[in-house]
């Protein structure tokens, strides 16, 4: 008797549990889940927290417009804590447990590389909003930041043609992004007829603060009568003592300009900008660009974050474009299914915030304008040069021997991220 009633009880429990789960599932199906995979603690928190807020703002706005496909959006925020392997685990959690339909996330290349195998295995969808070194194209990733040909190469062109720079210092932090970018730049410069002895390459560790010898070397290298410039892939807060030391050793931006790829408005806010004034930054967006769309975006952001002191920057624009494109693609595909959205994404157009049109190309990279700006005393960057129209992002650099012949094309019939045009073969997996 006792066992029987116990069994009944257990059965009842199972039934109740399963009803609750199915009820939960039914409720979950009513929303479209958007995963947010940005570090909210650790060293990258400074930059990535802003992007988390940007996605939340976009989700809130989309819901105000009535959501997507008649459903409300629901953001699922996780914290990978600037810990690269944790990025992979959190991706798995987002897709398998939380069942998100899309993920916006990652900042450093190493975190993206960590997420890549998981997102491909589980067939998820990742929007990556930061400028990076290229040499990658995955079916499951959309790269809304700049590839090297949308930032580094045009910056070098500007220095070469407009400032008539003849000698080059490629200075970077010692990790994958600067090393790959500098490899591409070195090959590009040599192809442009710059001699090897006119290129100096230097790497420093993360958080380097003793710049005196390096700046002294830069000074010596730059004082031989030929116009010299520094192309800086120095990342993070090491930039501050670097620019300070340049100022202390009396190197002005007019003598030896420094063009930086990792210094934006967010990094400039809250630091003493005096030593940086006049130096250059290359991005696809500046907060200072005068455009109605940009003005609306800035107002929206400052209202959302409840501070008119907060700035906007390039990765935020990339996040904005990525989100808008995803929303458009979902409506076009009438589904949130990865494969359907992935195909619908290609060719989607969304106005960018600098007065042009962003187009998602076959290789999952965007067409973007390139802007070169000079840093102002108030921490803003003022455009001094820009490309006429937009530049299509190139996943595989044309200046590296290994990737010269590769293209990425995710439309039928190629459907390949690294198709070799010479051997007519897809190298993938």
């Amino acid at each position: 008797m006792v066992t029987k009633s116990l069994r009944k009880l257990a059965l009842a429990a199972v039934v109740t549990a399963s009803t609750i789960t199915s009820a939960g599932m039914a409720w979950a199906a009513d929303t479209i889940k958007v995963g947010v995979l940005h570090s909210l603690s650790g060293t990258m928190a400074i930059s990535e927290t802003t992007l988390k807020d940007t996605v939340l703002m976009m989700v809130e706005e989309q819901n105000k417009k009535g959501g997507l496909l008649g459903k409300q959006l629901e953001a699922v925020v996780v914290d990978p804590a600037s810990n690269w392997p944790l990025f992979a685990e959190k991706t798995r959690e987002l897709i398998e447990k939380e069942k998100v339909d899309v993920i916006f996330g990652c900042w450093t290349s190493v975190s993206r590389k960590s997420v890549l195998p998981v997102i491909e295995e589980l067939n998820g969808l990742l929007f990556y909003p930061v400028q990076y070194e290229g040499e990658e194209s995955s079916k499951n990733v959309f790269y809304t930041g700049a590839a090297p040909n949308q930032q580094a190469i045009p910056a070098v062109d500007y220095l070469m043609n407009d400032l008539e720079v003849k000698r080059w210092i490629l200075a970077g932090t010692d990790y994958v992004y600067p090393r790959t970018t500098n490899k591409i730049l070195e090959a590009y410069l040599i192809a442009k007829g710059v001699k090897k002895e006119d290129i100096m390459i230097n790497y420093t560790p993360f958080g380097h603060s003793d710049w005196q010898s390096i700046v002294s070397d830069i000074k010596k290298f730059g004082s031989q009568g030929k116009k010299t410039a520094v192309v800086s892939t120095i990342n993070g807060d090491a930039n501050v003592p670097f620019y300070k030391e340049l100022g202390n050793q009396n190197i002005s931006s007019e003598d030896i300009p420094v063009v930086a790829f990792s210094v934006g408005e967010e990094e400039l806010s809250g630091i003493d900008t005096k030593p940086l004034v006049g130096h250059l930054a290359a991005w696809n967006y500046f907060m200072s660009v005068e455009d109605p769309g940009n003005e609306a975006f800035i107002n929206k952001w400052q209202a959302f974050i409840k501070s008119d002191q907060r700035v906007t920057n390039d990765p935020m624009e990339a996040t904005y474009i990525g989100f808008e494109m995803w929303a458009k693609a979902v409506e076009k595909a009438k589904s949130v299914d990865t494969d359907a959205v992935e195909q619908a994404m290609i060719g989607v157009e969304v106005p960018n915030l600098t007065g042009g049109m962003a187009v998602m190309n076959k290789n999952h990279h965007l067409s973007k304008p390139v802007l070169i700006g000079e840093i102002q005393e108030d921490g803003q960057i003022e455009t001094v040069w820009s490309t006429e129209g937009t530049v299509a992002g190139d996943a595989w650099s044309n200046f590296l021997p290994g990737s010269k012949d590769l293209i990425s094309d995710w439309t039928a019939p190629t459907k390949c991220g690294n198709y070799n045009t010479k051997t007519k073969k897809c190298l993938a997996k």
Partner: protein, 566 residues
């Protein structure tokens, strides 16, 4: 304010005294003073006025190449008003009104802008920021303007303006300037200025057609360590693809080679001097970071993993002091020194009383506990202040550099920090050797039970010693706030280096710490040019590992509590 300038002068005098033997005076390029009104001729001809009127609107074109061309034309107009316009453009004071696109010179007045006519400086009115827009400049345009202005000022009556102008010309002279420079040289009364003019002329005359002029110019260049002199000689000695000289004249080649050799030998001397100074400066930073640790770790035998965070607290104290007195940045730094000592010292005492006291003789537990404290302190500033780096402003007397000659200059902040480190070292030495506290500290370090038997309150001495070491770490934080970013992770960057220095120098010996810090600093800097920043650090670490294998007690081993064992 008076106090700062007094302090500044005193310190400067000290420096000058030490370095006066090789000191050559130098003027900062930023000293360009605008030309006084008395000098501007009021006799403006009608035609130049018309030219101005025609050129001014062209300054607002977007294309920088066109802008540069307009600026050059503007400089050629014989009308003193053009200098005013060019200076306004250089200082970002040249705007245009959005309504009618007319160019104006602005002057900020409270929240509004006074606008003046660029034609005759007459006041037009008071406008809002929204109605005007800045005429943008870029690096190249600013450089062009500076050069153009310098040409006009190289014969100015004021020596300071002349010097600044010539300095500008020396960085970018072209052959068309030759008559201007020669004229300036004949009128020049100042000797050092005359010498520079000779150099500027020689830089042009190297390319002259006359052979003897060229030879004498080469000789002049050979005596200068000015970087462009070397560049120019290298240009003369350029080779074609086959490796033979493009220059045909054998004597010119020979003279140039000789001159280049002279320059090179001088340059290598200066570059070695510079590296030596860089080494000493890195050494002084290491010394500052490690000296507090050498007391807590060296004298007391406590492995304090939170030492770096005590440095960080000192740096944050500097920030807070600066926030409290934003109008006296120079003075705030001096106030921050005792403040940081007290803040970090009190934290140190609290750590000792609260945690370490219970763990004496258990190094592993101490290590773990203090590591926990270090995380706690980091999180504390993240929560209380900000997770982001905070800006610590550098006072003007700490920026810039002391220029001995064009090939050798050292930065002020490093000089100050070097002497500051030595001062901290000396005062710590005095405290330990000459005060009763120092005597008690040393007694406890050498033999605790004997010291207790003699009536010394060892617990009290322990707390004070730890407080002293921590306070010194705080003072180091003040100095480091001028060199590096002040953020929650500041301490992490220095903890390893500090332990390295103390272990290398031999525990409980301050002299060892000094020698070790300087040795590591200099070795690192001499390795850096050929090994790179990353590799040289690794090489130094390997060297240290081998060294510790051979001499486990460091450079200056001494018997004491920690080496005697508990």
């Amino acid at each position: 304010m008076k106090f700062i300038s007094l302090k500044k002068n005193l310190s400067l005098h000290l420096l000058y005294l030490i370095l006066s033997m090789i000191f050559v005076s130098n003027v900062n390029a930023k000293n360009i003073v605008s030309i006084d009104a008395s000098e501007q001729s009021t006799d403006v001809t009608q035609s130049s006025h018309a030219q101005l009127e025609k050129l001014i609107p062209q300054l607002q074109v977007k294309n920088f190449k066109k802008k540069i061309a307009s600026v050059k034309q503007l400089a050629d107009i014989k009308n003193p008003q053009n200098i005013t316009i060019l200076e306004a453009l250089l200082d970002s004071r040249l705007y245009y009104q959005k309504a009618d696109k007319s160019v104006v010179i602005i002057q900020k007045k409270d929240n509004q802008y006074e606008i003046f006519s660029p034609l005759d400086n007459s006041k037009i009115g008071l406008v809002e920021k929204k109605t005007i827009k800045k005429i943008t400049t870029n690096n190249k345009l600013r450089k062009t303007i500076r050069t153009l202005l310098a040409q006009k000022k190289v014969s100015h009556t004021d020596l300071i303006i002349r010097q600044a102008a010539l300095k500008e010309i020396l960085t970018s002279s072209d052959a068309s300037l030759l008559p201007v420079l020669q004229q300036a040289k004949t009128n020049e009364s100042d000797d050092s200025q005359k010498e520079l003019l000779t150099l500027a002329i020689a830089l042009i005359e190297v390319d002259s057609k006359d052979r003897s002029t060229r030879l004498s110019a080469i000789k002049i260049l050979g005596n200068s360590v000015f970087p462009r002199a070397k560049g120019k000689l290298e240009q003369v000695l350029m080779t074609n693809e086959q490796g033979s000289f493009i220059e045909q004249d054998k004597d010119i080649i020979k003279a140039s080679q000789k001159a280049l050799k002279r320059i090179d030998s001088k340059l290598s001397l200066f570059s070695n001097l510079e590296t030596l100074f860089f080494g000493l400066s890195l050494g002084s930073v290491l010394l500052l970071a490690a000296i507090g640790l050498s007391i807590t770790f060296g004298v007391m035998g406590v492995i304090n993993m939170a030492h770096g965070e005590l440095i960080m607290l000192g740096a944050y104290t500097t920030y807070l002091v600066q926030q409290a007195m934003p109008n006296d940045i120079g003075l705030s730094l001096i106030v921050a020194i005792p403040a940081a000592f007290i803040v970090s010292g009190l934290f140190g005492i609290a750590i000792e009383r609260g945690v370490i006291r219970h763990l004496y003789g258990r190094p592993l537990e101490t290590l773990l506990a203090t590591f926990g404290i270090s995380l706690l302190l980091q999180q504390m500033v993240r929560t209380l202040i900000s997770a982001q780096n905070v800006p610590v402003i550098t006072p003007s007397w700490l920026s810039g550099s002391l220029v001995f000659n064009p090939a050798f200059a050292i930065t002020y902040n490093r000089i100050y920090i070097f002497f500051f480190a030595l001062m901290v070292f000396a005062s710590l030495m005095l405290i330990l050797k000459k005060t009763s506290l120092g005597l008690q500290v040393r007694a406890v370090a050498q033999n605790r039970s004997m010291a207790t038997a003699m009536g010394i309150k060892t617990q009290w001495v322990d707390s004070l010693t730890f407080g002293l070491g921590s306070g010194v770490a705080g003072v180091a934080g003040v100095a480091l706030s001028q060199l590096t970013n002040v953020g929650p992770n500041l301490g992490q960057a220095y903890i390893i280096d500090s332990f390295m220095v103390v272990v290398f120098g031999g525990v409980e010996n301050l002299w060892g710490t000094l020698v070790a810090a300087m040795t590591l600093g200099i070795t690192n800097k001499f390795l850096e040019p050929w090994a790179g920043a990353v590799m040289s650090k690794i090489i130094v670490l390997i060297f240290l590992i081998i060294f510790i294998q051979k001499r486990p007690n460091g450079l200056f081993p001494q018997k004491g509590r920690s080496s005697g064992g508990h």
